[in-house]
Amino acid sequence: MRDKVLVVLEERGAQNTRWLTDVFGDGITGETPIYSDLTWTTKYYSETFDLYVDEYDDLDEWIEEFTSDDCAVLRDALAGVILVRTGIATGDHHSQRIANSLSTDDMFLVWLDKRESVDDRELPLPWEVVQLEETARDRELNEKSGAARLKEILDVHTWPGTDRLEQEPADMDELITLMREARLRCQDMSDDEESQRYAMSLAEQIAKRI
């Protein structure tokens, strides 16, 4: 089941800690390699996932290890990869090697860039380049970057078995009691207009519950 998010850091430092906490919540600092059973909640669904945090000194070596057969099980379990890097080399082969090793149809790949000015189209699909720090231009155009964009990417990801938060099923006994009480109340009302208004507001209340 693809329910693990892999974060790959350039180095474990204060800046990394801040965005990790902003995105994944308090206590997620990146100092521990695995955070299990985290919950991602939106207004439509709630999903449990694990967060894996790794780091690299040499990206080529890290990719070598990540794309090896030993990591096949890990790759098959990933919902997405967030790679932190400063800059993208021309004709970048790192992103391509990572993408080629993964089945990217149902996962997200984010290149989190620490430069001050980044174009999110610098890498071809399935990668998205996200700038770590929000710029004045982003604010002006109401575009999201950094932690806000990462949250959005996680929100719209198709998690395995994502179920829309089910509304509590309507309790029929409670509804019938409500209608009985309303009927008695309506009988006591002498004004037709008032009872009509009451009936309409009750109908709306019941419609919302079901």
Binding site: K43, Y44, I206, I210
Partner: protein, 156 residues
Amino acid sequence: MSHIKYLLLVSRQGKVRLMKWYQPLTEKAKTKIINDLTPLILGRKPKMCNILDYSDHKVIYRRYASLYFIIGITPNVDNELLCLDLVHRYVETMDVYFGNVCELDIIFNFAKAYDILNEMVMCDGSLAESSKKEVLYAVQTMDGMDDNDKLEKVLS
């Protein structure tokens, strides 16, 4: 105006969130259009022109946050700027309906997003209604009828 050929809504990650075809096309042709246009438009720089030639027709697109609205139009028949305005009107209407609409709202309420579009553009691709107020009134009336249906179902 105007007989647009199709409208696609594609996310920054290349996922198609909505698609509406106003001219008959085979599944193969539809897939080709989506596969061609998605990387082509997502790869364009912010200051590049929002109108481009593709195959035998023109394509206009506009980006709103993480979503790209893409419309195929007939050259010399449709007005490109009017189509851009149609996209803007559609986004504004969804914004009012959902309250600051985002990609997640469209994913989980795609039927409603189609309803709004259907009120604005007829099935042959011509503009049906440009008034935001009228479109919202029609969609909210549909919601009301839907609620009443559910209520009647329970009461019966």
